[in-house]
Protein backbone atom coordinates (compact mmCIF):
# COMPACT_ATOMS: atom_id res chain seq x y z
CA UNK A 1 0.00 0.00 0.00
CA UNK A 2 2.92 2.34 0.57
CA UNK A 3 3.67 2.35 -3.16
CA UNK A 4 0.04 3.17 -3.98
CA UNK A 5 0.10 6.05 -1.51
CA UNK A 6 3.36 7.32 -2.93
CA UNK A 7 2.08 7.16 -6.51
CA UNK A 8 -1.13 8.99 -5.66
CA UNK A 9 0.87 11.63 -3.84
CA UNK A 10 3.14 12.14 -6.80
CA UNK A 11 0.27 12.24 -9.28
CA UNK A 12 -1.82 14.61 -7.19
CA UNK A 13 -0.93 17.88 -8.88
CA UNK A 14 -1.22 16.54 -12.40
CA UNK A 15 -4.57 14.98 -11.56
CA UNK A 16 -5.98 18.25 -10.26
CA UNK A 17 -4.68 20.10 -13.34
CA UNK A 18 -6.22 17.56 -15.70
CA UNK A 19 -9.57 17.54 -13.91
CA UNK A 20 -9.76 21.33 -14.06
CA UNK A 21 -8.84 21.31 -17.75
CA UNK A 22 -11.44 18.68 -18.60
CA UNK A 23 -14.13 20.59 -16.77
CA UNK A 24 -13.03 23.78 -18.51
CA UNK A 25 -13.25 22.19 -21.96
CA UNK A 26 -16.66 20.75 -21.21
CA UNK A 27 -17.99 23.97 -19.69
CA UNK A 28 -16.67 26.06 -22.55
CA UNK A 29 -18.64 24.05 -25.08
CA UNK A 30 -21.70 23.52 -22.94
CA UNK A 31 -22.05 27.20 -22.11
CA UNK A 32 -22.38 27.89 -25.81
CA UNK A 33 -25.57 25.89 -25.79
CA UNK A 34 -27.97 28.54 -24.44
CA UNK A 35 -26.77 31.12 -26.91
CA UNK A 36 -27.05 28.89 -29.94
CA UNK A 37 -30.09 26.89 -28.90
CA UNK A 38 -32.26 29.75 -30.20
CA UNK A 39 -30.61 29.52 -33.57
CA UNK A 40 -30.31 25.75 -33.76
CA UNK A 41 -32.10 25.61 -37.08
CA UNK A 42 -29.61 27.98 -38.68
CA UNK A 43 -26.66 26.08 -37.25
CA UNK A 44 -28.03 22.82 -38.50
CA UNK A 45 -28.42 24.35 -41.93
CA UNK A 46 -24.87 25.68 -41.93
CA UNK A 47 -23.53 22.24 -41.10
CA UNK A 48 -25.70 20.58 -43.68
CA UNK A 49 -24.48 22.94 -46.38
CA UNK A 50 -21.01 21.47 -46.03
CA UNK A 51 -20.01 18.53 -48.22
CA UNK A 52 -21.01 15.25 -46.57
CA UNK A 53 -17.39 14.09 -46.28
CA UNK A 54 -16.52 17.20 -44.34
CA UNK A 55 -19.54 16.76 -42.12
CA UNK A 56 -18.52 13.20 -41.39
CA UNK A 57 -14.92 14.06 -40.71
CA UNK A 58 -15.94 16.87 -38.37
CA UNK A 59 -18.27 14.47 -36.61
CA UNK A 60 -21.35 16.54 -37.29
CA UNK A 61 -23.02 14.37 -39.94
CA UNK A 62 -25.37 12.67 -37.52
CA UNK A 63 -25.43 15.68 -35.30
CA UNK A 64 -28.83 16.60 -34.17
CA UNK A 65 -28.51 19.78 -32.18
CA UNK A 66 -32.11 19.80 -31.24
CA UNK A 67 -31.59 18.18 -27.84
CA UNK A 68 -29.21 18.95 -25.04
CA UNK A 69 -27.78 15.43 -25.06
CA UNK A 70 -26.77 15.53 -28.68
CA UNK A 71 -25.11 18.87 -28.10
CA UNK A 72 -23.48 17.36 -25.02
CA UNK A 73 -22.05 14.56 -27.15
CA UNK A 74 -20.49 17.11 -29.43
CA UNK A 75 -18.82 18.78 -26.44
CA UNK A 76 -17.85 15.48 -24.83
CA UNK A 77 -15.87 14.43 -27.92
CA UNK A 78 -13.16 16.87 -26.92
CA UNK A 79 -13.20 15.73 -23.34
CA UNK A 80 -12.76 12.15 -24.57
CA UNK A 81 -9.79 13.17 -26.66
CA UNK A 82 -8.13 15.07 -23.83
CA UNK A 83 -9.03 12.36 -21.31
CA UNK A 84 -7.46 9.72 -23.52
CA UNK A 85 -4.23 11.72 -23.61
CA UNK A 86 -4.33 12.10 -19.83
CA UNK A 87 -4.82 8.36 -19.32
CA UNK A 88 -2.14 7.35 -21.79
CA UNK A 89 0.19 9.86 -20.19
CA UNK A 90 -0.33 8.28 -16.80
CA UNK A 91 0.04 4.80 -18.25
CA UNK A 92 3.30 5.54 -20.01
CA UNK A 93 4.85 7.52 -17.20
CA UNK A 94 3.90 5.57 -14.10
CA UNK A 95 6.37 2.73 -14.66
CA UNK A 96 8.92 4.49 -16.85
CA UNK A 97 9.24 7.30 -14.29
CA UNK A 98 11.42 5.06 -12.15
CA UNK A 99 13.87 4.75 -15.03
CA UNK A 100 13.54 8.32 -16.32
CA UNK A 101 13.97 9.84 -12.88
CA UNK A 102 16.59 7.19 -12.10
CA UNK A 103 14.83 6.15 -8.93
CA UNK A 104 14.66 2.51 -10.00
CA UNK A 105 17.75 1.72 -7.97
CA UNK A 106 15.81 2.89 -4.96
CA UNK A 107 12.49 1.16 -5.52
CA UNK A 108 13.52 -2.14 -7.08
CA UNK A 109 16.07 -3.05 -4.42
CA UNK A 110 13.34 -2.87 -1.81
CA UNK A 111 11.86 -6.17 -0.64
CA UNK A 112 8.93 -6.10 -3.06
CA UNK A 113 8.52 -8.17 -6.18
CA UNK A 114 8.30 -6.43 -9.53
CA UNK A 115 4.79 -7.79 -9.99
CA UNK A 116 3.70 -6.12 -6.82
CA UNK A 117 5.22 -2.81 -7.88
CA UNK A 118 3.38 -3.07 -11.20
CA UNK A 119 0.11 -3.98 -9.48
CA UNK A 120 0.35 -1.00 -7.17
CA UNK A 121 1.19 1.34 -10.01
CA UNK A 122 -1.69 0.06 -12.13
CA UNK A 123 -3.98 0.42 -9.15
CA UNK A 124 -2.78 4.00 -8.64
CA UNK A 125 -3.57 4.87 -12.25
CA UNK A 126 -6.97 3.21 -11.96
CA UNK A 127 -7.79 5.22 -8.85
CA UNK A 128 -6.82 8.43 -10.64
CA UNK A 129 -8.93 7.49 -13.65
CA UNK A 130 -11.90 6.81 -11.38
CA UNK A 131 -11.44 10.16 -9.67
CA UNK A 132 -11.25 11.91 -13.04
CA UNK A 133 -14.43 10.19 -14.18
CA UNK A 134 -16.30 10.98 -10.99
CA UNK A 135 -15.30 14.63 -11.35
CA UNK A 136 -16.22 14.82 -15.05
CA UNK A 137 -19.48 12.94 -14.49
CA UNK A 138 -20.52 15.29 -11.72
CA UNK A 139 -19.57 18.39 -13.66
CA UNK A 140 -21.35 17.13 -16.76
CA UNK A 141 -24.45 16.25 -14.79
CA UNK A 142 -24.60 19.73 -13.28
CA UNK A 143 -24.03 21.42 -16.65
CA UNK A 144 -26.57 19.33 -18.52
CA UNK A 145 -29.19 19.66 -15.79
CA UNK A 146 -28.72 23.42 -15.54
CA UNK A 147 -28.77 24.03 -19.25
CA UNK A 148 -31.50 21.68 -20.37
CA UNK A 149 -34.90 23.12 -20.90
CA UNK A 150 -36.70 19.78 -21.20
CA UNK A 151 -36.10 16.52 -19.45
CA UNK A 152 -33.39 14.29 -20.89
CA UNK A 153 -32.65 10.58 -20.92
CA UNK A 154 -30.46 9.91 -17.89
CA UNK A 155 -29.54 6.41 -19.07
CA UNK A 156 -28.22 7.77 -22.33
CA UNK A 157 -26.35 10.50 -20.48
CA UNK A 158 -24.71 7.87 -18.29
CA UNK A 159 -23.82 5.61 -21.21
CA UNK A 160 -22.29 8.46 -23.17
CA UNK A 161 -20.36 9.86 -20.22
CA UNK A 162 -19.10 6.46 -19.13
CA UNK A 163 -17.35 6.03 -22.46
CA UNK A 164 -14.66 8.28 -20.96
CA UNK A 165 -13.95 5.62 -18.36
CA UNK A 166 -13.64 2.86 -20.96
CA UNK A 167 -11.42 4.95 -23.21
CA UNK A 168 -9.20 5.99 -20.34
CA UNK A 169 -8.76 2.42 -19.12
CA UNK A 170 -7.89 1.38 -22.67
CA UNK A 171 -5.30 4.09 -23.20
CA UNK A 172 -3.80 3.67 -19.75
CA UNK A 173 -3.23 -0.05 -20.32
CA UNK A 174 -1.84 0.66 -23.77
CA UNK A 175 0.46 3.13 -22.03
CA UNK A 176 1.70 0.51 -19.53
CA UNK A 177 2.47 -1.85 -22.36
CA UNK A 178 4.25 0.80 -24.44
CA UNK A 179 6.34 1.88 -21.47
CA UNK A 180 7.66 -1.63 -20.76
CA UNK A 181 7.97 -2.49 -24.44
CA UNK A 182 10.16 0.45 -25.38
CA UNK A 183 13.69 0.18 -24.11
CA UNK A 184 14.05 3.67 -22.79
CA UNK A 185 11.59 6.52 -22.65
CA UNK A 186 12.92 10.02 -22.34
CA UNK A 187 9.77 12.08 -22.67
CA UNK A 188 6.23 10.89 -22.18
CA UNK A 189 3.93 13.50 -23.69
CA UNK A 190 5.02 13.14 -27.35
CA UNK A 191 4.39 9.39 -27.16
CA UNK A 192 0.99 9.63 -25.54
CA UNK A 193 -0.20 12.58 -27.63
CA UNK A 194 1.06 10.94 -30.80
CA UNK A 195 -0.61 7.60 -30.18
CA UNK A 196 -3.93 9.07 -29.08
CA UNK A 197 -4.08 11.50 -31.99
CA UNK A 198 -3.27 8.77 -34.50
CA UNK A 199 -6.14 6.69 -33.12
CA UNK A 200 -8.37 9.73 -33.21
CA UNK A 201 -7.51 10.45 -36.83
CA UNK A 202 -8.27 6.82 -37.71
CA UNK A 203 -11.60 7.30 -35.99
CA UNK A 204 -12.34 10.50 -37.94
CA UNK A 205 -11.30 8.78 -41.15
CA UNK A 206 -13.67 5.96 -40.41
CA UNK A 207 -16.48 8.42 -39.84
CA UNK A 208 -16.22 9.00 -43.58
CA UNK A 209 -15.33 5.49 -44.70
CA UNK A 210 -17.66 3.62 -42.34
CA UNK A 211 -15.53 0.54 -42.74
CA UNK A 212 -16.40 -2.20 -40.25
CA UNK A 213 -12.86 -3.57 -40.10
CA UNK A 214 -11.24 -0.19 -39.70
CA UNK A 215 -13.73 0.41 -36.93
CA UNK A 216 -11.98 -2.28 -34.92
CA UNK A 217 -8.69 -0.39 -34.99
CA UNK A 218 -9.50 2.72 -33.05
CA UNK A 219 -10.93 2.57 -29.54
CA UNK A 220 -12.69 5.84 -30.29
CA UNK A 221 -14.86 3.78 -32.66
CA UNK A 222 -15.61 1.23 -29.97
CA UNK A 223 -17.51 3.92 -28.15
CA UNK A 224 -18.96 5.82 -31.05
CA UNK A 225 -21.32 8.26 -29.40
CA UNK A 226 -23.87 8.41 -32.23
CA UNK A 227 -24.00 4.60 -32.34
CA UNK A 228 -24.56 4.50 -28.60
CA UNK A 229 -27.41 6.97 -29.02
CA UNK A 230 -28.97 4.89 -31.77
CA UNK A 231 -28.74 1.58 -29.93
CA UNK A 232 -29.04 2.89 -26.38
CA UNK A 233 -26.19 0.55 -25.46
CA UNK A 234 -22.55 -0.25 -26.14
CA UNK A 235 -21.77 -2.57 -29.02
CA UNK A 236 -21.11 -5.99 -27.52
CA UNK A 237 -18.43 -7.00 -30.04
CA UNK A 238 -16.54 -3.77 -29.39
CA UNK A 239 -16.91 -4.20 -25.67
CA UNK A 240 -15.49 -7.71 -25.92
CA UNK A 241 -12.61 -6.45 -28.03
CA UNK A 242 -11.95 -3.72 -25.49
CA UNK A 243 -11.89 -6.27 -22.71
CA UNK A 244 -9.54 -8.64 -24.56
CA UNK A 245 -7.12 -5.88 -25.55
CA UNK A 246 -6.97 -4.32 -22.08
CA UNK A 247 -6.35 -7.77 -20.63
CA UNK A 248 -3.65 -8.49 -23.18
CA UNK A 249 -1.86 -5.18 -22.59
CA UNK A 250 -1.83 -5.71 -18.86
CA UNK A 251 -0.71 -9.32 -19.16
CA UNK A 252 2.15 -8.26 -21.46
CA UNK A 253 3.08 -5.47 -19.09
CA UNK A 254 3.61 -7.98 -16.27
CA UNK A 255 5.46 -10.54 -18.36
CA UNK A 256 7.71 -8.11 -20.21
CA UNK A 257 8.59 -6.15 -17.11
CA UNK A 258 9.43 -9.26 -15.11
CA UNK A 259 12.13 -10.07 -17.65
CA UNK A 260 13.38 -6.55 -18.18
CA UNK A 261 16.88 -5.45 -17.20
CA UNK A 262 16.91 -2.16 -15.40
CA UNK A 263 19.59 -0.07 -17.07
CA UNK A 264 22.25 1.24 -14.77
CA UNK A 265 22.42 4.97 -14.44
Amino acid sequence: MNILKQELRMGRKALVAWCISLIAVLSLFMLLYPSISDQLEEFQQVFQSFPIEFQQAAGVADLDLSSILSFYQFALTYVLLAGAIQAMNMGVSVISAEVREKTGDFLFVKPVSRNRVISMKILAVLVQILITNAVVFTAALILVTLLSTDSYDFKLFTLVTMSLLFLQVFFASLGFFVSVFLRRIRTVLPISMGVVIIFYIIHLLNETLKDAKLGLVSPFDYFNLSEITKNMNYDSLNLLLWFVLVGLFIFLTYTLFARKDLPSI
Binding site: G104, D105, K110, P111, V112, D261, L262, S264, I265
Partner: protein
Protein backbone atom coordinates in the same frame (compact mmCIF):
# COMPACT_ATOMS: atom_id res chain seq x y z
CA UNK B 1 28.64 -19.89 5.94
CA UNK B 2 28.79 -17.94 2.73
CA UNK B 3 26.51 -14.96 2.57
CA UNK B 4 27.13 -14.40 -1.12
CA UNK B 5 27.99 -17.16 -3.50
CA UNK B 6 28.46 -16.34 -7.15
CA UNK B 7 28.84 -19.20 -9.56
CA UNK B 8 29.95 -18.77 -13.18
CA UNK B 9 27.83 -15.66 -13.49
CA UNK B 10 27.72 -14.32 -17.03
CA UNK B 11 25.86 -11.34 -18.39
CA UNK B 12 25.78 -10.15 -21.96
CA UNK B 13 23.92 -7.04 -23.05
CA UNK B 14 23.12 -8.23 -26.53
CA UNK B 15 26.59 -8.81 -27.94
CA UNK B 16 28.20 -6.46 -25.50
CA UNK B 17 30.00 -8.18 -22.66
CA UNK B 18 28.99 -7.34 -19.12
CA UNK B 19 30.69 -10.06 -17.10
CA UNK B 20 31.92 -13.54 -17.92
CA UNK B 21 32.06 -16.54 -15.60
CA UNK B 22 32.39 -14.51 -12.46
CA UNK B 23 32.70 -16.72 -9.37
CA UNK B 24 33.53 -15.77 -5.83
CA UNK B 25 31.98 -16.02 -2.41
CA UNK B 26 31.76 -13.76 0.58
CA UNK B 27 31.81 -15.19 4.10
CA UNK B 28 29.51 -14.09 6.82
CA UNK B 29 30.90 -11.16 8.77
CA UNK B 30 33.61 -10.12 6.36
CA UNK B 31 34.17 -6.87 4.56
CA UNK B 32 34.86 -8.00 1.06
CA UNK B 33 36.40 -5.65 -1.47
CA UNK B 34 35.53 -5.71 -5.12
CA UNK B 35 37.95 -3.74 -7.21
CA UNK B 36 38.48 -2.98 -10.84
CA UNK B 37 38.50 0.00 -13.14
CA UNK B 38 35.37 1.58 -14.57
CA UNK B 39 33.56 -0.71 -16.97
CA UNK B 40 35.18 -3.88 -15.65
CA UNK B 41 31.84 -5.31 -14.53
CA UNK B 42 31.57 -4.42 -10.85
CA UNK B 43 28.17 -2.78 -11.15
CA UNK B 44 26.91 -5.50 -13.49
CA UNK B 45 27.76 -8.14 -10.88
CA UNK B 46 26.12 -6.15 -8.11
CA UNK B 47 23.00 -5.41 -10.17
CA UNK B 48 22.65 -9.13 -10.86
CA UNK B 49 22.90 -9.85 -7.12
CA UNK B 50 20.06 -7.40 -6.53
CA UNK B 51 18.08 -8.93 -9.44
CA UNK B 52 17.95 -5.57 -11.17
CA UNK B 53 19.29 -7.41 -14.20
CA UNK B 54 18.95 -11.03 -15.22
CA UNK B 55 22.10 -13.04 -15.79
CA UNK B 56 22.65 -14.67 -19.19
CA UNK B 57 23.97 -17.78 -17.47
CA UNK B 58 25.33 -18.91 -14.15
CA UNK B 59 23.78 -18.22 -10.79
CA UNK B 60 24.21 -16.36 -7.55
CA UNK B 61 22.86 -17.01 -4.11
CA UNK B 62 22.54 -14.74 -1.11
CA UNK B 63 21.89 -16.27 2.32
CA UNK B 64 21.77 -19.57 0.43
CA UNK B 65 18.84 -18.53 -1.75
CA UNK B 66 18.79 -17.87 -5.46
CA UNK B 67 19.01 -14.15 -6.19
CA UNK B 68 16.42 -14.02 -8.93
CA UNK B 69 13.94 -16.54 -7.61
CA UNK B 70 13.84 -15.27 -4.04
CA UNK B 71 14.77 -11.69 -4.89
CA UNK B 72 12.18 -9.85 -2.89
CA UNK B 73 12.65 -12.07 0.14
CA UNK B 74 16.43 -11.71 0.11
CA UNK B 75 16.27 -7.96 -0.30
CA UNK B 76 14.67 -7.60 3.14
CA UNK B 77 18.12 -8.05 4.58
CA UNK B 78 20.14 -6.11 2.04
CA UNK B 79 21.14 -2.50 2.27
CA UNK B 80 22.33 -1.06 -1.00
CA UNK B 81 24.10 2.17 -1.77
CA UNK B 82 24.50 2.85 -5.49
CA UNK B 83 27.29 4.94 -6.92
CA UNK B 84 24.85 7.52 -8.24
CA UNK B 85 21.94 8.32 -5.99
CA UNK B 86 18.62 9.63 -7.23
CA UNK B 87 15.48 10.15 -5.22
CA UNK B 88 12.02 11.58 -5.78
CA UNK B 89 12.92 15.20 -6.37
CA UNK B 90 9.93 16.89 -4.82
CA UNK B 91 10.05 15.02 -1.56
CA UNK B 92 11.73 16.02 1.65
CA UNK B 93 14.62 13.95 2.93
CA UNK B 94 12.53 12.77 5.87
CA UNK B 95 9.71 11.69 3.55
CA UNK B 96 12.05 9.70 1.32
CA UNK B 97 13.58 7.97 4.33
CA UNK B 98 10.17 7.20 5.83
CA UNK B 99 9.05 5.83 2.46
CA UNK B 100 12.16 3.70 2.32
CA UNK B 101 11.56 2.45 5.86
CA UNK B 102 7.93 1.59 5.06
CA UNK B 103 9.14 -1.31 2.91
CA UNK B 104 10.65 -3.15 5.87
CA UNK B 105 9.13 -4.78 8.91
CA UNK B 106 10.08 -3.68 12.39
CA UNK B 107 12.13 -0.65 11.47
CA UNK B 108 13.34 1.42 14.36
CA UNK B 109 12.48 4.91 13.11
CA UNK B 110 14.84 6.47 15.62
CA UNK B 111 17.64 5.09 13.50
CA UNK B 112 16.76 7.61 10.80
CA UNK B 113 17.42 10.40 13.28
CA UNK B 114 20.58 8.91 14.72
CA UNK B 115 22.13 7.98 11.37
CA UNK B 116 21.30 11.40 9.95
CA UNK B 117 22.88 13.02 12.94
CA UNK B 118 26.09 11.06 12.46
CA UNK B 119 26.17 11.92 8.77
CA UNK B 120 25.19 15.54 9.45
CA UNK B 121 22.15 15.38 7.20
CA UNK B 122 19.28 17.88 7.34
CA UNK B 123 16.03 15.90 7.27
CA UNK B 124 13.84 18.86 6.41
CA UNK B 125 15.44 19.79 3.11
CA UNK B 126 13.93 18.89 -0.21
CA UNK B 127 15.80 16.35 -2.33
CA UNK B 128 16.18 18.73 -5.27
CA UNK B 129 17.87 21.28 -3.01
CA UNK B 130 20.57 18.85 -1.96
CA UNK B 131 24.13 18.80 -3.25
CA UNK B 132 25.58 15.59 -4.66
CA UNK B 133 27.37 14.80 -1.42
CA UNK B 134 24.23 15.36 0.63
CA UNK B 135 22.21 13.12 -1.66
CA UNK B 136 24.87 10.51 -1.06
CA UNK B 137 24.27 10.87 2.66
CA UNK B 138 20.56 10.23 2.09
CA UNK B 139 21.66 7.09 0.25
CA UNK B 140 23.80 5.99 3.17
CA UNK B 141 21.01 6.48 5.70
CA UNK B 142 18.40 4.73 3.54
CA UNK B 143 20.82 1.87 2.94
CA UNK B 144 21.46 1.32 6.63
CA UNK B 145 18.23 2.27 8.38
CA UNK B 146 16.73 -1.21 8.36
CA UNK B 147 19.82 -2.81 9.92
CA UNK B 148 20.58 -5.04 6.95
CA UNK B 149 22.54 -8.25 7.38
CA UNK B 150 24.26 -7.64 4.05
CA UNK B 151 25.44 -4.22 2.96
CA UNK B 152 26.29 -3.75 -0.71
CA UNK B 153 28.20 -0.61 -1.54
CA UNK B 154 28.87 0.32 -5.15
CA UNK B 155 31.58 2.98 -5.26
CA UNK B 156 30.03 4.67 -2.28
CA UNK B 157 32.44 7.46 -1.44
CA UNK B 158 32.10 9.72 -4.47
CA UNK B 159 30.96 13.18 -3.44
CA UNK B 160 31.77 12.71 0.24
CA UNK B 161 34.45 14.93 1.72
CA UNK B 162 37.29 13.18 3.60
CA UNK B 163 35.72 13.84 6.98
CA UNK B 164 32.42 12.33 5.87
CA UNK B 165 34.23 9.43 4.25
CA UNK B 166 35.84 8.74 7.59
CA UNK B 167 32.49 8.88 9.39
CA UNK B 168 31.00 6.64 6.73
CA UNK B 169 33.79 4.09 7.11
CA UNK B 170 33.29 4.16 10.87
CA UNK B 171 29.60 3.48 10.35
CA UNK B 172 30.33 0.57 8.05
CA UNK B 173 32.85 -0.85 10.51
CA UNK B 174 30.33 -0.54 13.34
CA UNK B 175 27.66 -2.31 11.28
CA UNK B 176 30.21 -4.98 10.46
CA UNK B 177 31.04 -5.46 14.12
CA UNK B 178 27.34 -5.90 14.79
CA UNK B 179 27.36 -8.80 12.38
CA UNK B 180 26.69 -7.29 8.97
CA UNK B 181 28.54 -8.63 5.98
CA UNK B 182 29.79 -6.00 3.54
CA UNK B 183 30.48 -6.12 -0.18
CA UNK B 184 32.43 -3.02 -1.04
CA UNK B 185 33.00 -2.18 -4.67
CA UNK B 186 35.46 0.51 -5.61
CA UNK B 187 38.11 1.61 -8.01
CA UNK B 188 39.87 3.58 -5.30
CA UNK B 189 42.27 1.10 -3.81
CA UNK B 190 43.34 3.00 -0.74
CA UNK B 191 39.81 2.88 0.64
CA UNK B 192 39.51 -0.83 -0.05
CA UNK B 193 42.87 -1.24 1.63
CA UNK B 194 41.60 0.59 4.72
CA UNK B 195 38.42 -1.39 5.11
CA UNK B 196 38.52 -4.82 3.53
CA UNK B 197 39.90 -8.19 4.50
CA UNK B 198 39.70 -9.91 1.15
CA UNK B 199 39.33 -8.57 -2.35
CA UNK B 200 38.22 -9.86 -5.70
CA UNK B 201 39.87 -8.15 -8.62
CA UNK B 202 37.86 -7.87 -11.78
CA UNK B 203 39.16 -6.96 -15.19
CA UNK B 204 37.37 -6.91 -18.53
CA UNK B 205 34.44 -8.79 -17.05
CA UNK B 206 36.36 -11.64 -15.51
CA UNK B 207 37.72 -12.17 -12.01
CA UNK B 208 41.49 -12.00 -12.19
CA UNK B 209 42.00 -13.17 -8.65
CA UNK B 210 40.60 -13.28 -5.16
CA UNK B 211 43.14 -12.45 -2.50
CA UNK B 212 43.66 -11.60 1.08
CA UNK B 213 44.71 -7.97 1.28
CA UNK B 214 47.48 -8.76 3.76
CA UNK B 215 48.87 -11.56 1.62
CA UNK B 216 48.69 -9.39 -1.38
CA UNK B 217 50.70 -6.64 0.20
CA UNK B 218 53.06 -8.39 2.55
CA UNK B 219 53.92 -11.79 1.29
CA UNK B 220 53.89 -11.48 -2.40
CA UNK B 221 55.33 -8.30 -3.69
CA UNK B 222 58.30 -6.08 -3.02
CA UNK B 223 58.81 -2.77 -4.64
CA UNK B 224 62.39 -2.09 -5.68
CA UNK B 225 63.90 1.28 -6.48
CA UNK B 226 67.47 1.24 -7.71
CA UNK B 227 69.48 4.42 -8.26
CA UNK B 228 72.38 3.78 -10.60
CA UNK B 229 75.66 5.64 -10.83
CA UNK B 230 76.19 4.64 -14.38
CA UNK B 231 74.23 3.22 -17.26
CA UNK B 232 71.39 0.88 -16.49
CA UNK B 233 71.43 -2.57 -18.04
CA UNK B 234 67.74 -3.38 -18.15
CA UNK B 235 68.33 -6.87 -19.50
CA UNK B 236 70.15 -7.70 -16.31
CA UNK B 237 66.80 -7.89 -14.62
CA UNK B 238 65.17 -10.05 -17.20
CA UNK B 239 63.96 -12.38 -14.51
CA UNK B 240 60.80 -14.28 -13.80
CA UNK B 241 58.70 -12.55 -11.14
CA UNK B 242 59.63 -9.03 -12.12
CA UNK B 243 56.85 -6.74 -13.28
CA UNK B 244 56.14 -3.07 -13.78
CA UNK B 245 59.73 -2.48 -14.75
CA UNK B 246 60.30 1.17 -15.54
CA UNK B 247 63.45 3.17 -16.19
CA UNK B 248 63.56 6.82 -15.30
CA UNK B 249 66.95 8.42 -16.09
CA UNK B 250 69.22 6.75 -13.55
CA UNK B 251 66.49 5.09 -11.58
CA UNK B 252 65.03 1.65 -12.08
CA UNK B 253 61.67 0.64 -10.56
CA UNK B 254 60.11 -2.77 -10.49
CA UNK B 255 57.86 -5.05 -8.48
CA UNK B 256 59.13 -8.47 -7.60
CA UNK B 257 57.28 -11.54 -6.47
CA UNK B 258 59.26 -14.63 -5.54
CA UNK B 259 62.48 -15.68 -3.81
CA UNK B 260 64.23 -12.49 -2.74
CA UNK B 261 67.65 -14.17 -3.08
CA UNK B 262 67.26 -14.16 -6.82
CA UNK B 263 67.31 -10.39 -6.76
CA UNK B 264 70.21 -10.23 -4.31
CA UNK B 265 72.22 -12.41 -6.72
CA UNK B 266 71.49 -10.06 -9.56
CA UNK B 267 72.45 -7.04 -7.51
CA UNK B 268 76.01 -8.29 -7.09
CA UNK B 269 78.45 -6.18 -9.03
CA UNK B 270 75.91 -3.49 -9.86
CA UNK B 271 77.15 0.04 -9.42
CA UNK B 272 74.39 1.46 -7.26
CA UNK B 273 73.93 4.86 -5.72
CA UNK B 274 70.97 3.87 -3.61
CA UNK B 275 68.64 0.91 -3.10
CA UNK B 276 65.12 0.99 -1.73
CA UNK B 277 62.97 -2.05 -0.98
CA UNK B 278 59.38 -1.23 0.05
CA UNK B 279 55.93 -2.70 0.49
CA UNK B 280 54.05 -1.80 -2.65
CA UNK B 281 50.76 0.03 -2.35
CA UNK B 282 47.71 -1.77 -3.56
CA UNK B 283 47.58 0.63 -6.49
CA UNK B 284 50.89 -0.62 -7.73
CA UNK B 285 49.98 -4.27 -7.39
CA UNK B 286 46.71 -3.50 -9.00
CA UNK B 287 48.24 -1.72 -11.98
CA UNK B 288 50.29 -4.80 -12.51
CA UNK B 289 47.16 -6.88 -12.97
CA UNK B 290 45.84 -4.50 -15.52
CA UNK B 291 48.98 -3.97 -17.47
CA UNK B 292 50.07 -7.58 -17.53
CA UNK B 293 48.76 -8.14 -20.99
CA UNK B 294 50.26 -5.01 -22.48
CA UNK B 295 53.77 -5.65 -21.21
CA UNK B 296 56.20 -8.21 -22.56
Amino acid sequence: MNVIEINQLTKYYGKHRGIENVSFSVDRGEIFGFIGPNGAGKSTTIRALLSLIHPTSGSATIFGKDCIKYGSEIRRDIGYLPSEVFYYEHMKVREVLNYSASFYDNVDYRRIESLSEVMDLDLNKRIDDLSYGNKKKVGIVQGLLHEPRLIILDEPTGGLDPLMQQKFFDLIRAENQNGATVLFSSHILSEVQKLCGRVAIIKDGTIVRVENIRDMQKHNYKKFTLDYKGIIDVHHFNLEGITNLTVNENTLHFLFKGDINRIVERLQGQNLFNLLVEEPTLEEIFMHYYQKEDQP
